[in-house]
Amino acid sequence: MDKWMKFLEVNAPRIFDLAIEHTILVGLAILVALMIGVPLGIYLTTNDYLAETVLQIASVMLTIPSIALFGIMIPVFSIINQGIGFVPAFVALVLYSQLPIIRNTYTAIKNVSPEMRDAAKGLGMKTSQRLLRVEIPNAFPIIMAGIRTAVVLNIGIGVIAAYIGAGGLGVLITQGISRGDNYLIISGSIAVAILAMIADGILLFIQKRYTPKSIAN
């Protein structure tokens, strides 16, 4: 216990800084992933053929081992002199989060009951009005669940970013492994877990807060 106290006394500020770095990397990746994934998921509900193709590509993306995907990024981004560091890690994380976001958005909108969609059309809503007033609000909890999955997934995978020089909490773990320092490994892992729990908690709160009471069941 004493040893832990000493370790934290020395390393706490550094762990905190790395956690912030981690959060920024994952946060930005999720933001961009949302800006791509949600509209794409919604668009796919109008095009069944394309939907199948895109969802398959996104699934394949998720089966690529994370370390391999990060590895692939290096030569690709070397072309523009960004082979290591923030950019390749960021792009890899964006790609990873596409599947849960696109799939959940697509499924959620598709699952809005046909009666409800019918009523919306019959009352004279335009497609955009129907989406904004009826379909997205009623699909919201499932879309949010997808976003939460993506966030937790990315916080975990973000650890690998340290291997390509993008920093974050992965730095503690990689250093711990190479130096055989269990304190570093354990503190890094716990910090990642706590970060994931906090992020999920906040998102769950947002989900609850903005889910219409009557569809929360």
Binding site: E115, A119, K121, G122, V134, P137, N138, K213, S214
Partner: protein, 330 residues
Amino acid sequence: MITFDHTTKTYEGGVTAVNGVDFTVEKGNIVVLLGPSGCGKTTLLRMVNRLETISDGSITIDGEDSMSLDQIALRRKIGYVIQSNGLFPNMTIEENVMIVPDLLGWKKKEKRERFNKLMEMIGLSGEKFGKRYPHELSGGQQQRIGVIRALAADPPVMLMDEPFGALDPIIREKIQDEFLQIQREVKKTILFVSHDIDEAIKMADKIVLLRGGEVMQYDTPSEMLVRPKNEFVREFFGKDRAIKSLSLHTIKTLQEVIGLANIDDTIEDTITIHVRHDLRNTLSMLLNQEADQVVVVDDDDNRLGAITIDLVQKYLHFEIKAKPTLVQKG
């Protein structure tokens, strides 16, 4: 006024759901689309607000070909009520009811006033229910909200697809009565889908009886009951159609034609019934022997006479079976 001119619908895959339908719904009338499951009622209804395309022929609304109108504008001018009420769970009752006025850009104050007025029509407090969500209401209340939502922007035309189908019989009758009461005030041109014969007889100015997408007969309920055009119509309404037709008559018409019995003041166990009650309900009341004597009263509680099973039977025999000119309900 809605005019169907050789209106036909063939779905992809070749099912002809509606086949060469011709009829006109007069302004201010309720026309009920009646027929067995799959005969094309819903399809025909949904072609009016263009939720289904028209394969052949045309539908004209107040003289304008529906295909020539802007689809969104057309739908906002047509009230639409469906069986599962289609209320949006993410919106409060007030938001639900005011959707079309909102889409049309009404002012906040106008919307509030309209909402309260509509709620008053169905006997619910706008104050109390406005902020609630659909799941916090009973099935019957939800269905009535569905009806006033369709009425919100005062559309001249209403389409109703089995609007009361999911309700239990007692609530259904109550809501039917309430709706007829509202219709007397608002005088909408209504196309109403039902597969319930009693409901059709009760609600309809005219009935369109469909089979396999074709019109078997288009007539007033009484004509259809008394003079079915073919075997299908006859069988559809069944053997007890004379009894069914009783619901088109009131005690008042019976009184005018054959008079009521004298009141026997020695009988203690007496109940009263209003003179505008329809004969079918009256008959079932008499058959249930709720009292030894049923006394007919008018609006001012004047005792007009007694009604008996014999009298109803006599009226049925002379007026309905023998002389098929029926008096309008009301």
